[in-house]
């Protein structure tokens, strides 16, 4: 797992993708930070955090799209799958490498927080921590989804688009729940929505059920990735 993690991380930084991802993330969130916090002298950071939702939904598929597609296209998966390592550690190595890049991106919030503390003396720590946890869980979920999709196709563009669509589906599903007549389906749909759960965290409410929800999503999609790799051997 360590070897694969290190290789992936290095690959991210030898290609422009990690730099682009981090740069776009910084520019996008700092615009919010400057406009909402610095311009109005406001210490309420919720906007800066929640604004990241959309950019993560769009940009994280770009980060995950090449994880397994490139392996398959260049046949390097033959090297990984015939090496004495189990599939789970291959998947985790890749998942953690992408998550690591994502953590580099959200580290910028540390700068925002320090700036606000320096200027205003303090911030609402409960909300800030709630938001950081929410971002991490949400990002890891999107990455798990993207990793899974990349294992199912050989084409990077297809991987990016499909994972983007799945991300949107998880984002919108509880909004659509209102239009459904069936009660049980409505319940299922509204409990699958990412945004409501994410929003709850971002207001500083720590809901254990939501924590388990995101952790389960991460686990399930990584598990499915392992199954996809396993299944290909049997096909």
């Amino acid at each position: 797992m360590g070897a694969i993690f290190r290789r992936e991380l290095k690959a991210y930084f030898t290609s422009p993708i990690a730099y682009i991802f981090i740069a776009v993330f910084y520019i996008y969130t700092s615009t919010y930070f400057v406009n909402y916090n610095l311009y109005y002298g406001n210490t309420e950071m919720s906007y800066v955090f929640t604004s990241a939702f959309v950019i993560m939904m769009i940009m994280l598929p770009l980060l995950t799209m090449r994880l397994f597609t490139e392996e398959k296209r260049l046949r390097t998966d033959q090297c990984l799958l015939t090496a004495p390592v189990n599939l789970f550690s291959i998947v985790m190595g890749k998942f953690l490498a992408a998550t690591c890049i994502f953590v580099c991106a959200i580290a910028i919030y540390g700068v925002y927080i320090i700036t606000l503390v320096a200027l205003a003396g303090s911030v609402a720590w409960a909300t800030v921590f709630g938001n950081l946890i929410a971002l991490l869980l949400l990002g890891a979920s999107f990455i798990a989804i993207g990793t899974f999709v990349s294992a199912t196709t050989e084409n990077q563009v297809v991987a990016a688009i499909v994972s983007f669509i799945i991300n949107i589906a998880f984002y919108m599903i509880d909004m659509l729940a209102g239009t459904v007549k069936l009660d049980w389906l409505k319940d299922v749909m509204s409990s699958l929505g990412f945004y409501t759960r994410y929003y709850e965290f971002s207001t500083g409410i720590f809901n254990t059920a939501s924590l388990f929800f995101f952790v389960s999503i991460i686990f399930i999609f990584n598990f499915l990735t392992v199954r996809v790799l396993e299944k290909r051997r049997w096909a």
């Binding site: 360590g2 070897a3 694969i4 290190r6 290789r7 290095k10 690959a11 030898t14 290609s15 260049l74 046949r75 390097t76 998966d77 033959q78 090297c79 990984l80 799958l81 015939t82 090496a83 004495p84 390592v85 189990n86 290909r232 051997r233 049997w234 096909a235």
Partner: protein, 365 residues
């Protein structure tokens, strides 16, 4: 030691590998021979645990590749058909990655240096793999398989894309490796198998068509009691004369090689040498022997015979080749004519140029 028992792989309705069973002993170099699509790579992928078998077993040093994949894979170094290289890495980074991936315990620096020395890639050690030539990429792939000194090496067409000098070097290397490792090597280049391997398995349509040592295979199928004679004489008469020689079992007139001259395949009883008698009788009829050879089969012939059916096919192949050669000759002639035409034109131009020059001189004067 590799034991394969009734290994079968099905892709839907298509059976890629059908009930393959064989054993490779320690220190043996086994050649896997077969036409494209015969199931060589599929078998190798099953042995290395890249794909699973539909049924049957593959034991690597006694460990079932499906029961304990990690334990079995530790014993294998695999070079797939397309070397699994990360193009954006340097050779150094890549080999270090493989070293970590295989959880190799040998002293890192010394071991990597050894491997690079063996496959002769020290001079590209710090270069990015994307920029390497096909031959170097292939050798980096081979280096990858050698890392960790696995007792079993499985090499899928290791010399593809190399130049003749490199091919010889790699062959020598494989032979050297064969002293310490068990090697399975696939190829469709017969001379390679003949040069490197102790034993050959020929597979065709996913089944074993032959499994023997290289020598035995050539010996068993080669027929030194068969002669091929090219005789200048009327076909019917020659046939009749040849059949009358004592010891001759059968005579077949092959195709017309030169105008009115045929090759005759003469099969004799194994204990008889008819060559002297043949010569005398031909001379007695005032004919001429233009060629006489025992029909020794090369591995190539054996391969064709096994994978395609019988001699007839080989002959049609020859005919095809001859037809192609004739066609090529014709084309060459056409080219010659064209070349002549261009020569003529060039001469004309020269003349014109000369004329122009003289005009110029005249003008100057």
């Amino acid at each position: 030691m590799i034991e394969v028992q009734n290994l079968t792989k099905q892709y839907g309705a298509k059976t890629a590998v059908n009930n393959l069973s064989f054993t490779v002993n320690d220190g043996e170099i086994l050649g896997f021979l077969g036409p494209n699509g015969a199931g060589k790579s599929t078998t190798m992928n099953m042995l290395t645990g890249y794909i699973s078998s539909t049924s049957g077993k593959a034991l690597i040093n006694g460990i079932d590749i499906l029961d304990d994949p990690i334990g079995a894979k530790k014993n294998i170094g695999y070079l797939p058909e397309i070397p699994p290289l990360y193009l954006d890495m340097t050779v150094k980074d890549y080999l270090n990655f493989i070293y970590d991936l295989k959880k190799c315990k040998l002293p890192r620096k010394a071991h990597l240096e050894d491997v690079c020395g063996l496959v002769m890639i020290k001079d590209v050690y710090n270069r990015i793999i994307r920029n390497l030539s096909k031959g170097y990429k292939q050798r980096v792939g081979l280096a990858q398989a050698l890392i960790g000194n696995p007792p079993i090496l499985i090499l899928d067409e290791p010399t593809v894309g190399l130049d003749p000098k490199q091919i010889i070097e790699i062959r020598t290397l494989i032979k050297k490796l064969g002293k310490k490792h068990t090697v399975i090597l696939s190829s469709h280049i017969l001379s390679e198998i003949q040069a490197v391997c102790d034993r050959v398995i020929i597979i065709n349509h996913g089944q074993i068509a032959a499994d023997d040592t290289t020598e035995n295979l050539t010996k068993n199928i080669s027929t030194d009691h068969k002669l091929i004679a090219r005789i200048d004489g009327s076909r019917e008469e020659v046939l009749k004369t040849l059949k009358n020689i004592p010891g001759v079992v059968s005579v077949v007139a092959d195709m017309e090689r030169e105008k009115g001259i045929y090759d005759y395949e003469i099969e004799t009883r194994e204990d008889v040498d008819i060559r002297r008698e043949l010569f005398k009788r031909i001379v007695a009829r005032n004919w001429v022997i233009l060629g006489l050879k025992t029909s020794e089969m090369t591995l190539e012939d054996i391969f064709l015979k096994i994978t395609m059916g019988d001699n007839v096919v080989i002959n049609t192949k020859k005919k095809d080749a001859e037809a192609k050669a004739a066609e090529a000759d014709e084309k060459a002639e056409q080219y010659d004519e064209k070349a002549k035409a261009t020569d003529a034109k060039a001469e004309e131009y020269d003349k014109l140029a000369e004329a122009a020059e003289t005009h110029e001189k005249e003008d100057e004067e």
